[in-house]
Symmetry: C2
Subunit: 208 residues, 2 copies
Amino acid sequence: MTTISVVLVDDHTVVRSGLKALLGTQGDIAVVGEAASGEEALEAAQRHAPDVVLMDLAMGTGMDGIEAIKRLRQSTPKQAIIVFTTYDSDADIVRAVDAGAMGYLLKDAAPEEIFAAVRGAVQGKSVMSAPVASRLFQQLRNPDEILTPREAELLSLLTQGLSNRDLGKRLFISEATVKTHLAHIYAKLGVETRAAAIATAIRREGMR
Amino acid sequence: MTTISVVLVDDHTVVRSGLKALLGTQGDIAVVGEAASGEEALEAAQRHAPDVVLMDLAMGTGMDGIEAIKRLRQSTPKQAIIVFTTYDSDADIVRAVDAGAMGYLLKDAAPEEIFAAVRGAVQGKSVMSAPVASRLFQQLRNPDEILTPREAELLSLLTQGLSNRDLGKRLFISEATVKTHLAHIYAKLGVETRAAAIATAIRREGMR
DNA sequence: AGCTGTATCAGCCAAAAGGTGGAGAGACCA
DNA sequence: TGGTCTCTCCACCTTTTGGCTGATACAGCT
């Protein structure tokens, strides 16, 4: 059994430290490098040539996690990338997988789940937290929940706090049409009010 | 010099582990207990009687951090509570300080900052991360825009998409009172509708 | 040619939200 | 003690939003 080398990418010192401590308890996993930003991540991945990169999506400044994943796939395509983040935003999941992530863990994952993900990743298995998997599953099963371009446009304006009247003016459509679109959006998002739709959109769909 | 005993409260195993590893490097600080929820926090604080409680505000389920702070102040008033959380939301800061928190750190704080906060807390000093301090400072300059603790609480629930009726039920107040609070919140945030208030709160205040 | 999905609009009604003005109770402080 | 702040509540009224049903038009696909 060979040792699995890992590079950690997270702008929070505490989280890196915690991962290091947890992974350190496992004989077959060794943390060989750390990075606090997307830029550093590229550098560290080059230098340490790890088997696995564990990466947060939200980096305070500079390059974000998604961008870092894309570049890592180009510069060091053999490394398995596992996303390790706080929120299970639909948009982030899709984007991360699209960018080439092998796994998607949430920060409240149990240590065993993290170990399993790291071990699985080097074997080409993709591991994700249960809530993440269920979201992906739901999206595949329910194409009904995908917003049409027009609906997405409207939702985007909605999250800026516009009234139905304003939405109509902005999009050059009648208030009646705005209401129709809204009803569809609510149904697709699984909410009943505009307030909940805004909250859902900004948080879950990564709109801001 | 006596050793400072600390209890950690965070629903993320990784974060607890990280704090433990970091604090463990300091000879005068010892982690004596951990908790993954508000309920566990009360229990751990009773049992271990620590000098300091380091606590996240966002706990997955059950009691939230603010509520836990309030109860801790009642059950074990001598312990200093330091909030250790991800976002610097105005509303959360106000509510946490109001509930009796001694310090307010962000998770991207440097280890030295954390050590200093723990040491300061036992001496009755309140320590907060620079971004947090600047927010408070800004609020002091514009007293008209400061949300009262109750308003902050309401706004926090508002960003979850609740209706006036639901807000009333949740806070044990009438719908009339909810409307009064909302009117004040709108005025302070400089918006006219609940939709705009939510958008402003989530984006500008970093709430989620 | 028919089906499906998208985008547009209407009218009606009920529910929710917002605006205005007023008011009492308790805390805190000068 | 008087002033200020906060939290609570009420009534009345207007505006906005949401639920429902139904309709037309166009594009793409089979």
